[in-house]
Symmetry: C2
């Protein structure tokens, strides 16, 4: 048995339960039972329930660190934007729980927001702002764009698609099969607008 198997089992179980019902919605008895581990292991490994939550958060937002990969050396601003949209979608597909922690921390920040969440989000936004500014400087994009607003518009479009899943299940097909179509569609709207 791996030395860290128990630790990892706790984190993966906690990720699912905290995501589904929130930090205060899950007790450590239920959590440890679901993980098949003794209740005391939570304090032993993480210093307590809050420590476990912070480890979960750290794990969830660690995916943000690889955002630089969007910068494919010699690609154009538009390609980078598409790469970003693709990156968000892949992120949500690979980790359906991230959005819960994301919105939960943005609307009800815990003490770990400024240490874990804010830096991760800030890094991405900064990078995207640079891409937009670059596009404006090269006269690819309109020069009257506010870079930050523009970035939020783009990020909002994509993230909201996943956020609204529960409310739009009967209106559209959310299956990954449609992701490519979605990317093309959102790129189209974002670059050319909806006017004919």
């Amino acid at each position: 048995m791996d030395k860290n198997e128990l630790r990892n089992k706790l984190i993966s179980t906690a990720t699912q339960l905290f995501a589904e019902r929130g930090l205060n919605g899950v007790g450590i008895r239920e959590l440890s039972k679901a993980a098949g581990v003794s209740i005391s292991m939570i304090s032993y490994y993480f210093g307590g329930k809050e420590g476990l939550y912070s480890s979960v958060l750290q794990d969830q937002f660690s995916s943000f660190e690889h955002i630089e990969e969007i910068h494919k050396a010699d690609s154009e601003a538009l390609d980078k934007i598409e790469a970003y949209i693709r990156w968000i979608i892949v992120r949500h597909r690979n980790n359906p729980y991230l959005l819960r922690f994301y919105t939960s921390e943005l609307t009800n920040p815990t003490q770990y927001f400024s240490l874990i969440v804010q830096p991760a989000i800030g890094k991405v936004i900064q990078l995207l702002v640079q891409i937009i500014e670059d596009g404006i400087a090269r006269k690819k994009f309109r020069k009257d764009l506010n870079p930050v607003d523009t970035v939020l518009a783009m990020a909002g479009m994509v993230n909201y698609y996943f956020l609204s899943t529960l409310a739009t299940q009967e209106l559209i097909n959310h299956s990954p099969d449609r992701d490519e179509e979605l990317i093309r569609h959102y790129m189209d709207i974002f670059t050319k607008g909806i006017l004919s």
Copy 2:
């Protein structure tokens, strides 16, 4: 003293506390003390803590019922879209707590989601889809738009601006003074895209 003053005081206090810390993050002792009301009144008026939460939810999403006002008889699709964006912004300005319940119920639905939240959101989306479809039919909008995706893109842009407030405080000014600029800017991006 109004007969309903106590009831309203409980709802407004609960709205703030539930929004800030979630249903499970607030105890009824703290809640009743903050409202300046006896603890037994929660069960007396609402049948318990959950009942109070459901009343808060109902109150929060009641604002969605006046969405029809966007339909100014003889206005164009574009004007209706701007009216919607304006309506969202006013809604968030008037009630800074709504977004918390909105995202919380979308990512961690309680038993009241399908009764209160889903119908409210569904109604708005349906209306917006009609607007887009109408615009397409009148050849104002591109005919290759997927109406639902388009609506989500628009709603996402605006809502995400408010959702991301905590993470973008140091990047942009979120004061209402800038709302008109924001509306013009988002209308611009949404209709004409970012390309120059």
